[in-house]
Amino acid sequence: MHNKNVAYDSKVEGEIIVTQADAVINWIRKHSVWPMPMGLACCAIELMAAGASRFDISRFGMEVMRFSPRQADCMIVAGTVTYKMAEVVRRIYDQMAEPKWVVAMGACASTGGMYRSYATLQGVDRIVPVDVYVSGCPPRPEALLDAMIKLQDKIGRESAVKNLTTKTTTPRELVGAGRES
């Protein structure tokens, strides 16, 4: 090997950008969020509006709504989660591949909302880790878009390389689990 110069040589290799792996991985991830619409109540209607032409979620690179958890990396919980449905929500979350994020859309998904009831899960953060909460009953599509942009910012700050090498078999810490006790 006669060429001892292993550094970047712009004469040999043009059009190359030097960056950090974290930055490039996060940049790719945050601009191709594939949401899983977990539509359970009226919030799902606003979610649909956010995906339609007037609000156009594809402006932010997250229009590929996938109804299979295997093909999605962001679960948007849009609506009231009953205790009977909680099991399903958790299973679908478990079936999503890492890395994955959860958006609790609206008052019901965030806290149980107006349903102070024996049948309603008091916040989806009791069963899955939530990244972004959206207030509103239901939130307007702009609020959801704002939340998704906040999620993009959050993805942009992750230690992607470090996360790649850590084991993902253990579930991430639940924000609200057992908080009542």
Binding site: A86, M114, Q122
Partner: protein
């Protein structure tokens, strides 16, 4: 029309009696005669549609439970309400109307689920809203509005998440709207705002 129906019914069936009602005509019927009576209602009096099946919990009274049935005649355009007292207060039961009206199937399952009334002869008397292992009947008067702590329906999810079905935080609720005035002032709010989840309810 309704009066003539009532007169004919009370004349033909000596076991029924008229019931006080503020809207539609209503009748009391003993549980043992319910199926025969409803068959006659459907076949001879044109009440061909079962609109609703529900029940009342009278709390401390006896009989404690009363089954309620709403019928509609689609030819005469008349409603009729039948009230049936359950003889047993501890394990209330009524005959099922599923053989006469297909609509009774889910309605009776719902009433069983929420009020705990057993419908004898129902083909599949299982819970329809709450999960199968749920131990209570939530619309009974002795069931608190917020609920009672029980395990989550799925064991594996409960194990991973450590979550349980908790009594819903009432934050000084239940929340009621004054219902009168501009919308900005009629937002539902707690009647008693002296306590929240964080602040204990003051002792009286």
């Amino acid at each position: 029309m309704a009066e003539s129906d009532l007169a004919q019914l009370t004349e033909r069936f000596d076991f029924i009696s008229e019931r006080k009602s503020s809207d539609h005509p209503a009748l009391n019927c003993p549980a043992g005669m319910l199926v025969d009576f409803c068959r006659a209602l459907r076949d001879d009096f044109g009440y061909d549609m079962l609109v609703d099946v529900t029940a009342i919990d009278w709390d401390v009274q006896s009989p404690r439970f009363t089954g309620i049935y709403h019928f509609l005649s689609t030819t005469k355009h008349l409603y009729l309400r039948i009230a049936v007292d359950c003889t047993d207060d501890l394990k209330p039961s009524l005959p099922s109307l599923t053989e006469l009206y297909a609509a009774a199937n889910w309605h009776e399952r719902e009433t069983f689920d929420l009020m705990g009334i057993h419908y004898e002869g129902h083909p599949n008397l299982t819970r329809i809203l709450m999960w199968d292992s749920y131990p209570y009947h939530p619309l009974r008067k002795d069931f608190p509005l917020a609920g009672i702590e029980v395990p989550l329906p799925a064991d594996d999810v409960a194990e991973v998440t450590k979550a349980t079905v908790i009594p819903a935080p009432m934050m000084g609720g239940p929340f009621v709207s004054s219902g009168d005035g501009p919308m900005s002032q009629t937002e539902p709010s707690a009647r008693d705002e002296s306590w929240t989840e964080k602040k204990e309810k003051p002792a009286k």
